[in-house]
Symmetry: C3
Subunit: 111 residues, 3 copies
């Protein structure tokens, strides 16, 4: 962030893939396991044939659901050249399908 | 987007109505049917009397829930004058109530 | 908002704490009670031991889930010096844990 020379502005961080999420939460591994289990309950992978999307030859409809719950993007304030985070805020990338290499977009605006 | 003459910036696209969503996902009709069915399972319309909000004379409490899962807004980077999308990213408007004409706000900042 | 002298831009409003949300929806108390009940159904507090995160000594794993459904942040357009809201849009802070004093970040960019 310091490299961008933006002192006051916003940074947008988003998944570029539609079965993935960028989200902000706690850096605690137990919580991330809880998320996986919870998302599987809300949007189960099986039965694969239960989703119309999977008739296209994919089997990742559930991943498109999970991504909506966890979100596509975060916008974080930059103040005095730093990410203006609360005490426990960390940015994570969540991958719910996993077939392809994934990219994250980071874009900064400000001055 | 090219009409705005912004080369580097952000575009905000949001539903202006609180029973609707703007979201980014796949342009595949089966998936959109899956979303409808899935949202109905997570936030069922019936029984209408199961929601306090519906005591106000509305029957759309479920739509306010569905909209939270799918989200109000997206922020998309503009790079070299174009929406900086991943390969399958498309913006959609999701309407969960449908009583009124709905509007979307599009706001661009940058230079 | 008028105090900021920004006429055209974006305002970012986000929870600084990871068991809380900032969201936009209806200012109707019945609906907010519906949200509480609904979130408790999707991410129940009990059994506390059902979440790995709670092995850290916390008992708020469910609050981290609820916050993902309701969202961390909103970005609102500023047009002619005012929040460019739809007719019923209001910003709310949702607290799902409640142990600590919480803060909201408000950051404006534009000109």
């Amino acid at each position: 962030m310091r490299a961008s020379q933006v002192r006051e502005g916003f940074v947008l961080v988003n998944a570029m893939h539609i079965t993935a999420s960028v989200f902000i939460n706690d850096n605690e591994s137990g919580l991330h396991q809880d998320y996986e289990k919870w998302l599987e309950k809300l949007a189960p992978h099986e039965p694969v044939a239960g989703y119309r999307h999977n008739q296209t030859g994919e089997d990742n409809a559930d991943a498109h659901m999970k991504r909506q719950i966890m979100g596509r993007e975060v916008v974080v304030a930059i103040t005095e050249g730093r990410l203006d985070f609360g005490p426990w805020e960390r940015i994570f990338y969540g991958e719910f399908d996993g077939r392809r290499r994934k990219r994250v977009l980071v874009k900064i605006i400000g001055e």
